[in-house]
Subunit: 292 residues, 2 copies
């Protein structure tokens, strides 16, 4: 890339994205029934509708006056030094957020699990995930929350079945949840900090640690799940794969559920784009993940 | 911008662009009736339709199966070091190109002048501008051609009323038109080289020289037009302003026409985006451009 100049782009890929859509793609590939909901607007929103239909992902998206944002990623040279440009995205109007609440309430009773993923758009109250998780819990449906910052911190009050921070997100949320030293690496400290998020409302806390696997704290005990090997590839979407596996494994015992999450996450690193995984690698890793 | 990382974008502006649209915007601001034609497809194409309508620019765009390309420009810091990413754009199918030919033929008789601007999309024959310019000439309509490389070189055979290369585009076209030394700066050499483009078919050649103004070679004589001052600002679209002024001044004597072209070009540098100009600066510059 020549900075400050015009660069001719060799090829362009467009893809409906966002963490929620990535999780739905993964669940679809795992054979699960999914439904995508959220906000969608403008010509980019129509492109999202069209693509979800073409890949067979049902959706019920609330239309908004603003335009769905794009995230532009520039790959140059070897393709490993990707530079992302994240648009701020549209502001959601109060009546649009109300409409979403009604849509969500109508969908939850049909669900076995709800995944609440990603940052919140402007205009949506910062405790949005708390009210959505609470609505799910009141209907007896598990909510898995994957967000960061204030939406995560405030979301804990909605008593989600699982929150899935990474190490940085855990440290930030815990620093606000109770004043204490923050963890910076995998280790015993993470379990203590994760317990603080349970005390703040989460039923279980699963901390994704990149190529070091997962730490999990549940009502009964704590777990450590490690991948069988270091995986080289595209780490974007590895956290979405953890969430998808946790949702798909909702009826399985925790050790299996966590092994699947580590395996799917590693298998997603093998795939070229977020929201997909290498099926052969997934099956191979499932047998090899070590859970203690 | 942090290269190789995710960058949060503070603000996003979307704008229907391309040289042809920019020229039409400028002519519209000058009070001329215009009609935009070309190819348009996909959700981005629909966004173009909507914006042309909202700014009052009539259009008759031929729909294509591919999606209209986007050009993404990243502004960081002071905003002067803009980095552009130019998508390759869709490939036009043979029947889509045929349909455009019919559309163009139906529109030309209603026009006083036709502006042929920009690179050619993939799938369109490299001599496309030659056949369009010829169709205009046969109807007695002036064609102004603003392109580069092979489409410019081959376009000369269509006997356009004016071609408007910049110095680099002139040198490249002339190097192929006849073997001789190429010009690299404003000077007497440019006139000789421009004459070679006249010999190859163009009725007149107007060479844009950035903040040094214009050189022009017509059937009667040669002209040199200089701006009254160096202008700081956004030079994107300054060449489109030259073309727009040449089209708007089609009934005026060459010295006035060229003075207007230099004035509008300089006034467009004052405006923040391509396809617009500072009206007060335009009026002021018109009186001050020196034409020899």
């Amino acid at each position: 890339v020549r900075w400050g100049e015009a660069n001719r782009v060799a090829g362009v890929e467009r893809r409906a994205g966002g963490k929620g859509v990535n999780v739905a793609r993964l669940l679809h590939q795992l054979g699960e029934d999914t439904l995508v909901t959220g906000f969608c607007g403008g010509p980019t929103g129509e492109a999202v509708h069209a693509e979800l239909e073409s890949v067979g992902l049902p959706w019920e998206l609330v239309p908004i006056a603003g335009e769905t944002r794009r995230t532009t990623t520039v790959f140059a040279g070897s393709g490993t030094d990707a530079t992302g440009f994240w648009e701020p995205g549209p502001t959601v109007a109060p009546e649009e957020w109300q409409r979403f609440g009604a849509t969500f309430a109508s969908l939850v009773p049909r669900a076995d699990a709800v995944v609440l993923s990603g940052s919140l758009p402007a205009g949506v109250p910062p405790d949005a995930y708390a009210s959505l998780a609470r609505a799910a819990a009141e209907t007896g449906v598990s909510a898995i929350l994957d967000t960061s910052g204030e939406p995560l911190r405030l979301g804990l009050a909605g008593q989600p079945a699982i929150v899935k921070p990474n190490a940085d997100e855990l440290a930030e949320a815990a620093a606000h949840a109770a004043p204490a030293a923050s963890p910076t690496a995998a280790g015993a400290g993470i379990f203590a900090v994760a317990q603080r998020l349970r005390a703040a409302g989460a039923e279980a806390v699963v901390v994704s640690l990149g190529d070091e696997g997962l730490c999990a704290v549940t009502a009964e005990r704590s777990w450590r799940a490690r991948p069988p090997e270091a995986v080289a590839g595209n780490p974007t979407g590895a956290g979405d794969a953890v969430v998808a596996a946790l949702a798909a494994g909702r009826r399985r015992p925790w050790p299996e559920r966590l092994a699947d999450a580590v395996a799917l996450s590693a298998a997603s690193v093998h795939a070229p784009v977020a929201g997909s995984f290498d099926a052969a690698a997934y099956q191979r890793y499932r047998e090899l993940v070590q859970v203690d």
